[in-house]
């Protein structure tokens, strides 16, 4: 019924005035650096991810959940990774995996939805912002891009919220089919600012669709086999978009199920295993495509969990937790310091690294963005410039 063609109707209250079209080169393959944000939804248990196996307080706090010295993948003489994370050990040996310990923020909030909002808007815990931190940071640096970033596993664009170009893209092919039905309005402005906004957005949508369409067809099939899990499929899509050269700066993927209040051991092991398998495949695919030096993976989660186990073989909502960064430009190794298990704040771990310091390291060193809206931040050294 509809075909994509320019159409302009002048008249009425929403009179349209033609403007010179702004040209953007969307099809050009881009060597842009891409951050892949991995949301560990539900609040990942940090203490059983990066395990302080040598601290006697650990086993005391978690008599039935503690992982033993023999099980963990030792990173040094004090801490080790959960055994399910063994697929990540190649990147650890290659010094491409940074483990940042004790990440959190002041006056922690223990509500899932509020705390993830704090992480995604990068505000103080008593401040609210409508825009996500990536939307703010990338604003001036993603001009000319059809979309600064996409969310692959969730209808929420999270840290890209507020950028009208941010897309959710569960399935690129379905997205392309859906946009094919839309017509393209001309580059025109109206005295009606709401209409101008709707039309500009519709054009942006078609630009994004073009940009994805032009590259997606040409992408050679990935040589690497991705696991057939939800997170595996999302990272496979991410790998296709990035290796195909779709101009993007950020990709958000979602790995859910970390709210382990009960019977945590088996479930947590399975979740971390799925994560590690998918990330290991993603790394290989990016190395194959020679995009690994331009790619950075970073995990985040609304909170860690309480230091002590609860009565249901699980853990409740807590505060600080470790986070992982992976990539060709990542400075591998242990960063920060493990939170004390004896100096707790009401049963919760005290953070040593503000999560916004980690973000600022990514914006400033990885992308070279100085005005990122994150304010004055402590300097970390997680990324090689």
């Amino acid at each position: 019924m509809f075909n994509r063609r320019d159409f302009l109707k002048v008249g009425g209250a929403g009179a349209l005035v033609a403007l010179a079209p702004i040209s953007t080169s969307l099809a050009a393959p881009s060597a842009r650096r891409v951050a892949v944000l991995v949301e560990l939804k539900g609040g990942n248990d940090g203490l059983n991810t990066v395990v302080p196996f040598s601290d006697p307080a650990y086993a005391k706090l978690r008599p039935r959940l503690a992982l033993s010295r023999d099980e963990v993948l030792k990173l040094d003489e004090r801490v080790g990774l959960h055994p399910s994370l063994s697929p990540l050990m190649d990147s650890w040996s290659a010094r491409e995996l940074a483990v940042v310990q004790g990440v959190g923020y002041d006056d922690p909030n223990r509500s899932h939805f509020r705390s993830i909002e704090i992480w995604e808007t990068a505000t103080d815990s008593d401040k609210y912002a409508d825009e996500g931190w990536l939307a703010r940071a990338l604003d001036a640096h993603s001009k000319g891009l059809a979309t600064p970033g996409v969310s692959l596993g969730d209808d929420d664009v999270g840290p890209l919220r507020g950028d009208p170009r941010a897309l959710t893209l569960r399935d690129p092919q379905r997205f392309l089919n859906a946009t094919k039905r839309l017509m393209r309005p001309t580059d025109a402005r109206s005295t009606n600012s709401s209409l101008t906004h709707v039309l500009a957005t519709q054009r942006a949508l078609l630009d994004a669709s073009n940009s994805i369409e032009q590259t997606l067809d040409k992408i050679p099939k990935l040589e690497v086999a991705f696991p057939k899990t939800n997170i595996g499929r999302q990272l496979e899509t991410a790998a296709r978009l990035i290796s195909g050269g779709v101009p993007l700066m950020a990709v958000k993927v979602t790995h859910g199920g970390f709210d382990t209040h009960a019977n945590q051991l088996g479930r947590h092991a399975a979740l971390l295993g799925q994560l590690a398998d998918a990330l290991a495949a993603f790394r290989l695919a990016m190395i194959d495509a020679s995009r690994w030096p331009d790619t950075l993976v970073m995990t985040y989660s609304e909170f860690g969990r309480r230091a002590a186990q609860n009565g249901s073989m699980g853990t409740d909502h807590g505060t600080a937790a470790p986070h992982l960064l992976m990539g060709g430009r990542v400075r591998g190794g242990l960063h920060g310091k493990a939170p004390s298990l004896t100096d707790l704040a009401g049963g919760d771990l005290k953070h040593h690294v503000d999560f916004r310091d980690v973000y600022a390291n990514v914006t400033r060193s990885f992308w070279g963005i100085s005005k990122d809206g994150l304010g004055k931040r402590a300097r970390l050294d997680l990324v090689k410039v």
């Binding site: 159409f7 209250a13 941010a166 009960a262």
Partner: protein, 447 residues
């Protein structure tokens, strides 16, 4: 002077959902003043539909806590917790569906739009409060005062149990005040940033200490032991102030009337409040001792509102788009879950605003992502004629009435769109195809 078709359509779109041709014709013959006074005079203060079956139960969050505490054994506690979470989730969905149904069927759409306005002003969410009963009760309160008196409404809100839970006033105690509620009361509900000091927040928080909820009934209760009855100084007023004194002191500041008027302007008139007009209208609110109906009458009949250039100057919220389309075309959704899922997908999950600031609205409604979702939803509504059986069976008369003479496509366009379509007229096809064409035009996103 009679309102005329286009202005009547404009007024009814701004005060309701998807007005029909017959409703517009009726209003077009009256003067704008009479259209508005009719709307205000017949505005309901309660819903037409029966409340959800569980609405009079004791709020789950309280009953649950007691029951879980009493339960013996971890397994049993865990089972009970799971069970009550599942009940809350089901009821939450029912509540959302209930409001969609009320908005679609009510004979007083202005009441629902105002209730939605207050829901976005005095925000609370199911996600945070975790009690569908309390959110339902809050909805009843907001509806009861939606077009009543702002002072009465505010006094009800500071006693509203869902609000007390949402903004942590339950933990606002004499020895350890929690400032969350006081801060939002000043910043978001009444004055806006820059019109109070940090000291005012601290003093207001003290005035609301002990304003808690009754564990047995889930109703409001002042816990005298936790209330700080000492002397406070709030915005220049000194005394043993309590919550109502704080409310009255705020409302004595003309800024409060301007703040509320500005918010109403953005929702009902245009994206950019006219400073002079706001000053003029805020005085109407103050002169009526904060009665909202005179303000709304003045706002809706203001020259700025009735200016023909104002047609289509606002972007429909997801709820307006969904409910308006359902109502105008008498589309019967497969289930209310379709609507709640659609609202969420389009960025407006009823009873679950993103945070205490509510939905930013305006241009923020339309992103590449939500625009595609809007178009997708509209094409689903218009996928097959059976979705709109009235239109499919009766054809043009279903939209334009039996006695209609003239060009029906042009009349349908005038009914559906506030401005000229961006993509022109439909290239042939009957009533259903024409309706579909106009619904997918970008101009349909505006009202």
């Amino acid at each position: 002077m009679s309102t005329g078709y286009d202005r009547a359509r404009h007024l009814l779109c701004r005060t309701g959902f998807g007005p029909t041709h017959a409703e517009i014709v009726r209003a077009s013959k009256l003067a704008p003043r009479d259209v508005v006074s009719h709307l205000l005079k017949h505005a309901r203060t309660s819903a037409t539909l029966a409340p959800p079956s569980w609405s009079s139960e004791v709020p789950l969050l309280l009953a649950r806590r007691a029951k879980i505490k009493m339960a013996s054994g971890k397994k049993e506690k865990q089972r009970l917790r799971k069970q009550s979470n599942a009940i809350a989730a089901t009821r939450g969905l029912e509540l959302k569906g209930w409001w969609y149904a009320e908005m679609t069927r009510t004979d007083s759409p202005l009441t629902e739009l105002m209730t939605l306005f207050w829901h976005n002003h005095f925000t609370s969410s199911l996600k945070a409060v975790k009690s569908p009963v309390l959110l339902y009760r809050q909805n009843v309160t907001l509806r009861a005062h939606a077009l009543g008196n702002f002072r009465t409404l505010l006094r009800a809100v500071v006693r509203d149990p869902a609000m007390i839970v949402y903004l942590d006033n339950r933990t606002n105690r004499k020895r350890k005040p929690n400032e969350n509620f006081a801060r939002e009361l000043l910043e978001l509900f009444t004055l806006g940033e820059g019109h109070y000091t940090e000291k005012d927040i601290k003093e207001a928080a003290r005035a609301f200490t002990g304003w808690h909820i009754d564990r047995k009934t889930g109703g409001f209760r002042v816990n005298a032991r936790q209330h700080d009855a000492g002397q406070k100084t709030f915005m220049g007023k000194t005394g043993a102030l309590d919550g109502d004194d704080v409310v009255d002191t705020i409302l004595a500041n003309p800024r409060a009337s301007e703040y509320v008027t500005e918010r109403l302007w953005r929702a009902f008139v245009s994206p950019t409040p006219d400073a002079k007009a706001v000053t003029r209208l805020a005085k109407v609110l103050r002169d009526a001792d904060y009665e909202l109906a005179p303000l709304m009458a003045a706002l809706l009949t203001s020259p700025e509102m009735l200016d023909p250039a104002q047609a289509g100057s606002l972007i429909k919220s997801p709820v307006q788009l969904i409910v308006g389309t359902l109502k105008l075309f008498q589309i019967v959704p497969e289930s209310s879950k379709v609507l709640t899922a659609a609202g969420r997908r389009l960025g407006q999950d009823l009873f679950d605003p993103p945070n205490v600031k509510g939905w930013p609205g305006g241009e923020a409604w339309i992103t590449t992502d939500t625009l595609l979702a809007r178009q997708h939803l509209l094409s689903r509504f218009f996928r097959q004629p059976e979705n709109a059986p009235q239109l499919a069976e009766r054809g043009w008369p279903a939209m334009l009435g039996d006695g209609f003479k003239g060009n029906p496509v042009a009349a349908l366009q005038r009914l559906m769109l506030p401005i000229e379509p961006v993509f022109g007229e439909p290239g042939g096809g009957g009533p259903f195809a024409s309706a579909r064409h106009f619904a997918l035009d970008p101009a349909y996103q505006l009202f």
